[in-house]
Amino acid sequence: MRRPVLPVLPALTLLLMLGPVAAGLWGALLPAFGHLPAAGLTGPSLYPFHAVLDWPGLPRAALLSITTGVGATVISLCVVMLLLAGWSGTRAFRTLERLLSPLLSVPHAAAAFGLAFLIAPSGWIARLVSPAITGWERPPDVLIVQDPLGLTMMAGLIVKEIPFLILISIAALGQAQSQSSIKVAQALGYGRVTGWMKTVFPRVYAQIRLPVYVVLAYAMSVVDVAVILGPNTPPTLSVQIVKWMSDPDLDMRLLAAAGALLQLGLVIGVLVLWRVAEGVIAKLGQGWVARGARGKCDPILAQSALFLGGVSSAAIFLGLVVLTIWSFAGYWGFPDAFPDGFTLRNWMRHGPGALAALVETALIAGTVSIVALMLTIGCLEAEYRYGLRVTQRGIWLLYLPLLIPQTAFLPGLQTLMLGIGAENGRFPVMLAHLVFVLPYVFLSLSAPFRAWDVRTGTVAAALGASPDAVLWRVRLPMLLRPILTALAVGLAVSVGQYLPTLLIGGGRVTTLTTEAVALASGADRRAIGVYGLMQTGAALLPFALALAIPAMLWRNRKGLRDG
């Protein structure tokens, strides 16, 4: 990192993060008004919007986006807040936290497949209780997975968002001095849950507001989980946009572009309503606080939150177990709890394909994460050396790529690339991944990087170390663990990306995730098992290394073991 490069890194980082988003929105705007020279169309016209509005599935698809998105966010937020209220600081909570942390990195697609294999009529749960309890000799004829109301899809989102919100909230709790507040509240006769909700919740929520918005925007516009667990006729709006995009008829791109803007409007509208609801709830909450109720059903609330948190971790964990079983399964007839035999045949058959996809996945994820890490360290170091201050607006910019739905700007980005004749392929896919990897790497590393005691740097400089030497010889080694964790976060985010790979790769870039999601339409559970497991492994292994490497390197350094 030569000195002249450092000052421009923050600007470069913002450009790499927001440039594709802006370009993609621009690229959706033109075709949405009928202007697509690549297809010989010149606008402006309102035809695309008319066509989208004429699509009979639209009201249902839009409604599905709203219900699944808002539902998943509200339920996971409630469970997480009640969990924190009832249990933060207890041993049960630490156990749950330790269970949930690795689950965070399980890719959405793998978690969704696991859930489907558990709760489908022919899923593992039905097999375990049949025919002994249910008497079923054949899978019952009910639509659980891909149900028309999107309830299963909502469940799939909830089990993945709970760990995310918990870990984000725990980080926020540290700054809220929650333990002393809860002690005071309890001394005044409040129950744990009520006391926590009245004293700590407002402070914690103010801290996690942006991540909650991210969850909401994500859940409203997710594609891979919706393809696997969501309804089909019609699908959610985001899935329909992707269908239009993959139609060989270029006219359909106009519909996709108009749909993308509609999706954006939908998300913005719901975010605004959510913000209004925050105000209303705050008002109601003030009244609730003023009435001084001590809380009567606290234990029940706490117990049910713990139960739901447990069920949600169990769903992911058992989902991975059943994926593993299927990947090694020989013949497995319906009511049997386990396959007749275990075999390596599935792995032999799908192994080579999965391995090729793994190489592509690793290449993309590795490059993108390392670039994101270098940019992040550069930005943070520039902030430290030049005394820059990050404003609230800066934080918003960081969250922007995560708040704008992928389906709103990726179609436009692809159309734009088509228009300028850019080749689809690995490099554009990497750039697209960077948009989503950068914010997460930055959010993961910035707190520990800024928490580093700057007096250590003063001492090192007083000992004659140049700024670069301080960075390389003191700061980075001391921060090895958070740096590797941030790298692992970046890898996991990249591994899990579906839509950027699919759209920007033009179908020519094959990663574990695109392969796995493509299998959703078929019924080959063994292949899904193989790909789902590989995908999970690719996301989990870096986290294991991020824990193991510092523990090994610093095994004789007590001062670095817990921090």
Partner: protein, 213 residues
């Protein structure tokens, strides 16, 4: 040669207004104690001298060290050593590597190793090279931090409440050691403290900063 650390008409301001003004010469081997309530800007003065003044502050005046104007030099070229109340030993390096980090560069491998061994012997820590700093006692850490700083051959020594984390018995001992080593090397010393006993033990002039209103 104008040996010593000369602070000439130094004025430091924050956004809220003027924080402090100091003008004082510290001769080699002498100790200037700066006292005052917390928040008065004692550490800010040291940050100005080490070249690490946060961007929120602005400063005027000159710092002369052994005849050189170091006011605008980058932090690592000033040759001003500093000790904080925490030892701030680098947790990822062994005791020996911490000292090697401080030891001015140059010299053969064996010569450097010998110098480090010698420095450890000087403070009764012979053979501690491979120890993890986190396993040392508070007094031992303070001594390693002192020697690490001295090995970098500074021309002046700044002390930022350096003894306030040590218990009473250890405190007098470490304090005597620091002042003795500084005197032996004829270093001008600037100490900020809120402890009158520290200032008395230093035996030099004392200036007291007043909170500006």
């Amino acid at each position: 040669m104008d040996k010593g650390l000369f602070l000439r008409n130094i004025e430091i301001s924050s956004q809220k207004g003027r924080l402090l003004s100091v003008s004082h010469d510290i001769a080699p081997g002498a100790v200037l104690s700066v006292m005052g309530p917390s928040g008065v800007g004692k550490s800010t003065l040291l940050a100005f001298i080490t070249g690490t003044l946060p961007a929120d502050f602005s400063a005027q005046g000159t710092v002369m060290l052994d005849g050189h104007n170091i006011t605008d030099l980058p932090a690592h070229k000033r040759r001003v050593g500093i000790l904080f109340q925490d030892d701030l030993l680098f947790p990822h390096l062994s005791v020996g590597a911490n000292l090697a980090f401080g030891l001015a560069s140059g010299g053969t491998k064996t010569a450097r190793r010998d110098k480090i061994a010698e420095a450890l012997t000087e403070v009764d820590l012979a053979g501690f090279e491979s120890r993890d700093p986190a396993t040392l006692s508070g007094g031992q850490k303070a001594r390693v931090a002192l020697m690490r700083m001295l090995l970098s051959e500074p021309c002046a020594l700044l002390l930022d409440e350096p003894f306030s984390r040590l218990d009473a018995a250890l405190r007098a001992q470490v304090r005597a050691l620091v002042f003795a080593r500084a005197k032996a090397r004829s270093l001008p010393v600037l100490m900020v403290t809120h402890d009158a006993e520290d200032a008395q033990a230093a035996g030099g002039p004392i200036i007291t900063l007043q909170a500006q209103r």
